[in-house]
Symmetry: C2
């Protein structure tokens, strides 16, 4: 098994590192939070006092950090100066495409293979080891990374060259955010027109309006028993995370010269929802705002 350095042990990174340790990899873990490191050690990881110490002697480095600036800083200051040839770099953070490509270029310059591999599936998927990874990077790097990723996820998709993992994720999540608002608007309109939620679900789920937001994650209680609507919008996937991804999509669209009017409007609506004290609610809770509550 591999010697893996894991940097970033938050809600997602913690259980991901635990799954690698459970699979008998030798995991050396670092996070700015001592308690996060302690929790990882309890799950079988080894403690590192700094990121630089974590990567020394590692064969694989996995990072799971909040934003592009953290990824740039950790790779520039801690990872790249302290590793040798042949180390595989895997960044699982969801960050802007430009930062992902910038760091991948630095790695390539140092003769190292790197992939961007943002995930979907939330804390539940991270804990259960059923995440989806959307991977950008070369074929050789993808092939090497796949067995590692398979210890943390079930669906490993290669989306092309460096940065394309991030691109695929923000494009997917932009559709998700827009469609959740659209489904929510339609349910609230249907309610005011006297159309029962279950009837509405039965018609639309078998018609051209059908989508994942409706069928797997219905924002009103009833039709889909497992959806967060049935547990007062406990996440799931928080509104704050959806807003982050929609803002990354807007940033990418602006930089790349793409027009995304509905993506922009959805970002503004989620901003309104998050800034009304709902950051930690499930993103499907936006239906309550659209209902005037």
């Amino acid at each position: 098994m591999a010697k893996i350095a894991f940097i970033g042990l938050g809600n997602m990174g913690g259980p991901m590192a635990a799954n690698l340790a459970k699979a008998q990899h030798h995991v050396t873990a670092f996070d700015l939070s001592d308690s996060a490191v302690a929790a990882a050690v309890e799950k079988g990881a080894h403690k590192a006092a700094t990121a630089a110490e974590a990567v020394k002697g590692a064969e694989v480095v996995v990072t799971m950090l909040p934003a592009g600036k953290h990824v740039r800083e950790v790779y520039e200051k801690d990872v790249l100066p302290n590793i040798g040839k042949g180390v595989l770099l895997i960044d699982c953070s969801t960050i802007d495409v430009d930062s992902a490509r910038h760091v991948a270029a630095l790695a390539a310059k140092a003769g190292l293979e790197m992939i961007d591999a943002p995930v979907s599936g939330g804390v539940g998927g991270a804990t259960a080891g059923t995440l989806t990874f959307m991977v950008g990077g070369g074929d050789a790097a993808f092939a090497k990374a796949k067995p590692i990723l398979e210890k943390m996820g079930k669906n490993i998709v290669h989306a092309g060259a460096s940065g394309n993992g991030q691109a695929a994720k923000i494009c997917n999540n932009m559709i998700l955010g827009v469609s959740m608002v659209a489904v929510s608007e339609a349910f609230m309109l249907a309610k005011r027109l006297g159309l029962d939620a279950q009837k509405m679900f039965d018609v639309v789920s078998t018609s051209s309006g059908s989508c994942w937001s409706l069928v797997n994650y219905c924002p009103v209680p009833g039709p889909v028993p497992a959806s967060p609507a049935n547990r007062d919008y406990q996440p799931g996937f928080t509104a704050a995370m959806m807003l982050k991804d929609l803002m990354l999509a807007q940033q990418a669209a602006s930089a790349a010269g793409a027009s995304t009017p509905l993506g922009a409007e959805a970002a503004q609506l989620f901003s309104l929802f998050v800034n009304s004290g709902n950051a930690a609610k499930d993103f499907s809770g936006i239906v309550r705002m659209l209902d005037g509550k």
Copy 2:
């Protein structure tokens, strides 16, 4: 078999009347266009010189008209004054919920059963007899109408009381219009980020952004061979029809006090697309506008 009066023989009504005649119903057909009547006669219908003449002696009246005002006028002036007790009224037009409920109330006052039964499936579905009907009206009327509708469609859904067929259709099509724009925006963003359309399709169609607009009606050429994108956006379902349905949704939302920000934005975007000379293009062609073409 029944004596059926069929009023409104356009792109949809023509083939629907033909399917009733093909099923050995005695169809008496009327339209303001003589050539539309002549085409129906060629398919086995009998000619009527006026709407009033068409409904005399009929057991069932089917209407397929452009808008609420036509439905109100035809039922008030031609249908209701010229029929006896026990006639079943079926309005297949896509119109505003208020007009549908107004006409149904007039019918009820005259002791007649009526359903609103707007369709989805386009000209192809009308010709093949594979339409979906979304039906509003009482249980008895629905039960009586069902065998008639089954000669024109495959999926007959009862959405509740009068007007709920229209409500279900506009709620469904509002989600459809929004999701088509969202999918189009995401493909154009992906393209500018260097993510191949087929890769994008492969990732999103198996992820949380999946929706009918992507999987069955993909707006870019390639991934879904049967979609209008592969035949230069020949419809299919025209942009003009999508705009009509989105405007009906906006009218209903305004009247009922529902907030539909993305529905409103999608209506404006389709208005822009239609008013740029694209009324007769398939609605998925809006991807070209979002691409700056």
